[in-house]
């Protein structure tokens, strides 16, 4: 069934929408959740929460790309769950700890923080400036939260190349945000 028809089912409040969504995108949703949480049970719960999230948000939302819309919900639910887990047990080799290294909290910065929408816009414009491969590696790591090993396999790069590429891109992002006057 095509995405347009599935969205119509949501708009009609037809529960068949969830079955069709699961049928078409269940695998991708589980894959994103599992990639972040590394736990089948947690991933399954996030998958179900994703269907609920879609059911509750369409309507009023009418996504242009259903797959991206669903995966965003799954990703954000999974990251929220991961944060809760990390709060219990801080540390570990997660993508968040890498971001902490680059975007360390600066207690001297007392400027008002930039709004979230503006921050997202700035990140979007930054991603547009990257070469396709750089951008894909960055999004795989910090959106889809893929492990370094998986990224190496996807692109055929060595671990050191991926880590170096990510570090450079994080630094570029920090510089881009500073240049744009974004306060985070």
């Amino acid at each position: 069934m095509d995405d347009k028809r599935i969205i119509d089912l949501y708009l009609e409040r037809n529960e068949e929408a969830i079955r069709r969504t699961k049928e078409k995108y269940g695998g991708a949703i589980r894959s994103v959740s599992y990639g972040i949480l590394k736990n089948s049970q947690d991933a399954e719960e996030c998958e179900n929460d994703t269907y609920l999230g879609a059911w509750n948000s369409i309507p009023p939302e009418r996504p242009k790309y259903l797959s991206a819309y669903l995966l965003k919900i799954a990703r954000n639910l999974s990251v929220a769950r991961l944060r809760g887990k990390l709060a219990e047990k801080r540390g570990g080799d997660s993508f968040i700890s890498e971001l902490e290294d680059t975007f360390a909290d600066n207690s001297e910065d007392i400027r008002e923080r930039t709004g979230n929408e503006e921050l997202v816009r700035a990140i979007d414009s930054f991603l547009d400036t990257l070469k396709p491969t750089e951008r894909q590696v960055f999004v795989c790591r910090y959106w889809r939260c893929d492990g370094i090993e998986k990224i190496c396999g996807l692109f055929g790069f060595s671990e050191s190349k991926v880590k170096t590429m990510l570090m450079r891109t994080r630094n570029k992002l920090r510089e881009h945000l500073e240049k744009e006057g974004i306060v985070i």
Partner: protein
């Protein structure tokens, strides 16, 4: 909230196109499905091959701009088979030279509406019409013998209409991100094998070829019948009234069908007679193969299209062809071959 958490949260809201770009990565075919893939790949390969050869002619482009056309790495790659043909034993038949396509670039537009379009050739910029929108295109090298993709990447592109051609039939894309095997300076055509048309006349019109279509009365029509023990018999006839046949042909109504993995067996199942009708579209050699169980396979310019026209309509057209043709003077079965299926 910590700065790193804010970045992580903001990353979750990035534009959908970046998400679509990475979601197409890593979806390589499974080795277990090699046979299934081989069949599908063969179809893609054929459409691709035909596109490369014919689309410029179909669109009236005699001159193709200079371009590095190093799109192929197949060791035995040659021009390929110009007629799409099916034997009753299910094997593809060739006429003329053909080669084995080992590896080729496969590009897929990441937009549901255009996802099934088959990537084709470069067309001249003066054929390009108004812009349809921005798209992401997943492109890679596909090894057809191994059923594997490599160098999978996504590039941004601008999609345009082609003048005089319905966008539901063919569109073209200009890439914005350069990769080794695609340029950012040319326009690449994408043809739709699942074209929507209520009649063959509408189908040809949408391709911008209606005025050029001609059923030649100098060429022979070939009839292929299923014989005993799966033998194949071929006879031929000359049309006496090509206009009447063309009219009946253009009146056919049907639904475009996907040439998926089982299309050969689906077409051949229950079919007793195949009729080969030569078509002329400007300078492109094209053909239509009509199956008496209701399928019509058109090899036209850039691509191959399969239509389900219904048994009754197919038999009706076969009747018209028979009524308006005479057997070749050298006999009923001027050309007879016998191929025993394994």
């Amino acid at each position: 909230m910590k700065r790193s958490d804010r970045i992580a949260e903001a990353m979750g809201e990035i534009d959908d196109r970046f998400i679509n770009e990475v979601q197409s990565l890593g979806q390589l075919p499974k080795r277990a499905g090699r046979l299934r893939w081989a069949a599908a790949a063969a179809c893609i390969c054929l459409c691709f091959l035909l596109s490369v050869i014919f689309v410029p002619k179909l669109l009236g482009d005699e001159e193709i701009p200079d371009i590095d056309t190093d799109h192929y790495k197949g060791e035995n790659m040659s021009e390929g088979n110009r007629e799409f043909d099916l034997n009753f034993d299910g094997s593809a038949v060739s006429s003329g030279s053909e080669g084995v396509l080992v590896e080729a670039v496969v590009s897929v537009i990441q937009d549901d509406e255009y996802h099934s379009y088959v990537s084709g050739v470069v067309i001249e910029s003066d054929r390009v019409g108004e812009k349809i929108g921005d798209v992401w295109v997943r492109t890679c090298w596909r090894n057809f013998s191994l059923g594997e993709d490599r160098d999978v990447t996504s590039v941004r592109g601008e999609m345009y209409k082609i003048r005089g051609v319905d966008e539901k039939a063919i569109v073209c894309v200009k890439y914005l991100d350069e990769v080794e095997w695609l340029t950012t300076t040319h326009y690449y055509s994408y043809t739709n094998p699942l074209i929507s048309a209520t009649s063959l006349s509408e189908f040809f019109s949408s391709l911008g070829t209606a005025e050029y279509l001609n059923v030649s009365d100098t060429a022979s029509v070939r009839f292929k019948e299923r014989g005993e023990k799966d033998t194949t018999l071929v006879s031929s006839a000359l049309l006496t009234d090509s206009a009447a046949v063309e009219d009946a042909f253009l009146c056919l109504k049907g639904e475009a069908r996907s040439m998926g993995e089982d299309f050969k067996s689906e077409i051949l199942d229950g079919c007793d007679l195949q009729v080969y009708l030569p078509l002329s579209v400007t300078c492109a050699k094209s053909s239509a193969v009509l199956f008496d169980n209701g399928y019509l396979l058109i090899s036209l310019g850039g691509s191959s299209y399969l239509f389900d026209v219904g048994e009754e309509s197919a038999e009706g057209l076969i009747g018209v062809i028979k009524d308006h043709s005479v057997e070749n003077s050298s006999g009923v079965a001027v050309e007879t071959t016998a191929t025993v299926a394994e």
